[in-house]
Amino acid sequence: MQEDDGIKKTKPLDVRAAIHRTAWIARDIREITLEFCEDPRALLGEPAKPAEFFSPVSPLPGQFVHIAIPGVFLRRPISIAGHDGRLLRLIVRRAGRGTDMLCSLPAGSELRALLPLGNPFPLDEIKSISDCGGDVWIVSGGIGLAPLLFLSGWAKESGIRLDSFAGFMDREKIFGVSELEACGVCGLSIGGFVTDLITESLKKRKPGLMIACGPAPMLAALQKICGEHRIAAYASFEERMGCGIGACLVCNCGFHENGGFRYRRACIDGPVFSLSEASF
């Protein structure tokens, strides 16, 4: 049952965090690293350890954090772009009032963060395809690259090659490319459709799996391509979110299931879903 699958995951923690570093890395794209202010194990009644020696959470690529921004009513779900054992890395696109306020906070600002939330990318599947000599491609559109950078960092550490296709609206919006190049061949699409690059590349090679994150039209186009070429694909989805933990049912995305239609919650059933089942 879907409900149970969602519930068996690691317990998320609501922790106090402070902005360690914050800087623009492209137009309207800000990189923010957070450090944890306290040992949340203490909150659970377990012995506390000095925070600098560990991170209280072990997020996986594809998971997200629900951030309370001072002065903003609802928390904002932000995908995790990296985690080095101590610092949590976020890459945020300034897109509205909440992210605008998040991007304007100086280093040292305190926030509350609930994490890790949601399902990670299919790491075992990526590993086994790679082990069998298959290719895994990652496909991004704009800020959709953020969670995929966490994945590429994980892949590099795990000795897995990931080839990537990254789309950006224009040159001023480009970020993260050197990290992609560190774990495989990276194709860039600037001001066009990243899926055109995919179509071209598929004439030469066929991957065993694609992992994507980007705007809905990109995911819809990729779904069509993957369907035609019979390539398995997973994508990270987003929808306006409320509680972030699966209770309020506002962040639903539509999927085909057993010949019918079903909503699934982006926050707890996702945000990573099999792309072939998505209903755009």
């Binding site: 317990k11 009513f73 306006r240 509680c243 209770a247 049912l249 639903n252």
Partner: protein, 304 residues
């Protein structure tokens, strides 16, 4: 300092404290129980239940507003049988009062849901005649005294548990509807459900919510809710359960002073999933700080 006993009875059902998680913001409790022990609540009002499973409305289903949210979920739920079989056994063992919030498209549906609940381990049935986000039923039953009385009366006959009518604020005279519900047999009144509203994206000229309109909740509606709880508690003799924008323990105290015997916390759960235990602790501290020895000394104590 001595802790004030905050236990109370709501139409004969004992609550360990007067805090109830509001329907539609707490699911069936499972998700929150991963974050903290949900038995800290006096009661939990579950996601609105319909006879058959409902998929709900298309996204977007939420819009942030000044000091609140608009939602239009559209009563997505697995249906009454799935609730009784898959959710209730776990929830009923949690040690908190269970309130089944029920919604129907027709009078017969409401009656049938109440009948199916008669053998279930549910403490109170909350009659949702105030959902603004469904095409049939919902708020249409709750906007006139006569239609409210008809549905309350019909369900009262079929319902074994105490019956609480949840009222809509989208009316001209809340007290007359509350009175009609009381006369038809309601054992308690809960209010307010959400205020109908809408949000528009000026750049695309499209409504933010796919359903065009939605229900407004959160601190934005608290003054309206306080006024309605005040008016209702003076008009009826059954207990009133107040809700609407409670974010702190002191907010809850305000509702009780206005006349609420118990309160529900809803939108706060969505804005901050950890807020339930915090609000309950804040309320207990408020009682201690102001030397309030019993809930009875607070409820309806408004000085005018």
């Amino acid at each position: 300092m001595e802790r004030t006993d905050t236990s109370c009875a709501l139409c004969g059902v004992k609550l360990k404290n007067p805090f109830i998680a509001a329907s539609g913001t707490f699911g069936f409790g499972r998700e929150f129980d991963r974050l903290y022990d949900i038995s800290c609540w006096g009661g939990i009002s579950v996601k609105g239940l319909t006879l058959k499973a409902r998929e709900g409305n298309p996204p977007h289903r939420i819009a942030e507003t000044a000091s609140g949210i608009l939602n239009s979920v559209g009563l997505q739920n697995p249906g009454i049988e799935a609730f009784i079989n898959d959710e209730l056994p776990w929830l009923a063992a949690k040690g908190t009062a269970i309130i089944a919030n029920i919604a129907g498209g027709t009078e017969e549906e409401y009656v049938e849901i109440a009948r199916r609940l008669s053998d279930a381990s549910v403490d109170i049935v909350e009659l949702n005649i105030s959902c603004p986000n469904v095409k049939e039923g919902g708020v249409r039953f709750g906007t006139s005294p006569s239609s409210a009385a008809r549905i309350v009366g019909a369900v009262r006959k079929a319902c074994r548990q105490p019956l609480m009518a949840k009222l809509s604020p989208n009316v001209t005279d809340i007290a007359s509807i509350a009175k009609a519900a009381e006369e038809a047999g309601a054992d308690a009144i809960s209010l307010i459900n959400t205020l109908t509203g809408m949000a528009i994206d000026a750049r695309t000229r499209a409504p933010v919510l796919a359903n065009v309109t939605g229900g407004l909740s959160g601190p934005a509606v608290k003054p309206v809710a306080l006024r309605m709880v005040y008016e209702t508690s003076r008009a009826v003799s059954v207990p009133v359960v107040g809700m609407g924008g409670i974010m702190t323990g002191e907010d809850a105290a305000q509702f009780m002073i206005a006349g609420a015997a118990a309160v529900m916390v809803g939108t706060a759960n969505i804005a901050d999933p950890m807020s339930g235990p915090r609000i309950i602790a804040e309320f207990e501290k408020f009682l201690a700080d102001y030397n309030i020895k019993s809930l009875g000394a607070l409820v309806g104590s408004l000085k005018t």
